[in-house]
Symmetry: C7
Subunit: 75 residues, 7 copies
C-alpha cells in the first residue's frame, strides 16, 4: 500500500470517477485515465458543468491542464 | 499501444480534430498537427469561437500557447 | 523535535484537522493525510465552504493544488 | 522539411506576416523577424489593434513577450 | 551581524511580531516562527484582518504561502 | 551584425528611446540603458503615462520588471 | 564603475531613497537596504501609499516581494 501522498492518491484513483474544480469555476467529472507530474489529467467520458448550470455537457476524452485545477475530489 | 498518459493521448490525436478551451473563454477547433512539452499546440484549419458567439472565424494554421489552455476535448 | 519550518509544521499536522483558505475565496476543512513539496495537500473527510455560505459541502478525500492555497490555519 | 512542431512552424513563418492575440485583448500584426525559446517574438512593421478598435496603430519593430501571447495565427 | 539581505532580515525577525499584506487584500499579524526559501512563513498566534474589517480573527499557528504575500512589515 | 533575435534587437536598442507597454495599461518611455535575461529593463530619463492620461510624469532612471511588460516598441 | 545592468543599478541605489510601484496599485517609498536575485527588496523607514491616497503610512523596515513589483524609480 502506498503512503497516501498526493500522487499516490491520484494513482489509486485511476479508473474511478473523479470531480475537478477549475479556477474558472467550471466543474469537470469523468473517469480518471492518467496524469503526469504537472497534474495534467486525462478523463474519459468527461462531463463539463459551467458555473451555475446543472446539466453537464458530454465532452468525451479530455485533457485538463494541471495549472487550471483547484481541487480533485471524490477520491 | 501507449499508456494513456496526457502526452500519449495528445500524440494519438495528431491529425484529428480537437477542441480547445482557453482561459479567456475562447474556444478553438482544428486539426492537431503537433505539440511540445509546454503543451503549445499547432492546429491546422483552425476556427476561433469568441465567448458567446456561435460562428467560428477561420484562422488557418495557428500556434496556441500551452499556458492559455484550460482543456483539450474531443480526443 | 523539528525546527518549526513550514514543512515541519505541516508534517506535525498530519492526522489533524486543518483549514485552508484558497485564492478563489473558498474555505476547505479536513483531516490532513499528506502533502508534497508543491504544497499539494490531501485532506480526508473534507468539507468545502464557498464564499459567503455557512454550510459546508462534504467532498470526501480531496487533493488541493498547492498553488491555489493562501494559508493553512488551525495548526 | 521539419516535423511541424510549434517552433518549427514559427521558424518557417520568419519573414511572413503573422497575427498575434495577446492576453489583454490586443491584436498585433507584423512580419516575423525572430523568436526565442520563451516565445518572445520580434515583429517588423508591426501594427497594434486595441480591443474593439478597427484601425491599427503603426508601432514599428516590436518585441512581444511570449507570456502575453494567446495564439499566433496566419501561419 | 548579517548583511541585511531579505532572508537575513526575516531571520532576525523570528520570534517577533510581523505584519503581512497578502495579494487578496487580507492582512495577517503574528509572531514569526519560521520561513523557507519560497517565503512560505509560519506565524504563531496569528490574526487575520479581512479587507475593510477592523477586528482580527484569531487563527492560531498558520502557514502563509509565499506567493500570496505582497510585503512583510514591522521588521 | 547580429541575427535579429529578441535579445539582439534589445541590445541594438541600447542608448535609444524605447516605449514599453505594461500589463497594467501603463506606458513607459525612456532611453534604454540595459537589460537582463528576465527582460528586466533599465530606462534613463523615463516618463510614465498612466492609462488614459496624455501627459507623462518624469520618473528618472527606472527599473521595469520584465514580467510586467507586454511589448517593447519603437526599436 | 559597473555596467548599468538592472542589478548593478539597484546595487548603486543601496542607502538611497527609492520608490516602488506594486501590481496592486500601491506605492512604497523608503531607503533601499538590500535585495536578492528575485528582486525581493528591503526598505528602511518605508512609507506605503494606497491607491488614490496622498498620505503615506509609515511601515518601518519592510520586505517587498519581487514578483509584486512593477517598477523601481528614483534611481
Amino acid at each position: 500500500m502506498n503512503q497516501g501522498r498526493p500522487f499516490d492518491v491520484l494513482s489509486d484513483a485511476r479508473g474511478k470517477d473523479v470531480t475537478l474544480q477549475l479556477k474558472n469555476g467550471t466543474v469537470i467529472t469523468g473517469k480518471l485515465l492518467s496524469f503526469d507530474i504537472h497534474l495534467n489529467l486525462v478523463l474519459e467520458e468527461a462531463k463539463e458543468y459551467k458555473t451555475g448550470i446543472e446539466t453537464g455537457e458530454e465532452i468525451g476524452t479530455t485533457i485538463v491542464r494541471g495549472d487550471t485545477i483547484v481541487l480533485v475530489k471524490g477520491l
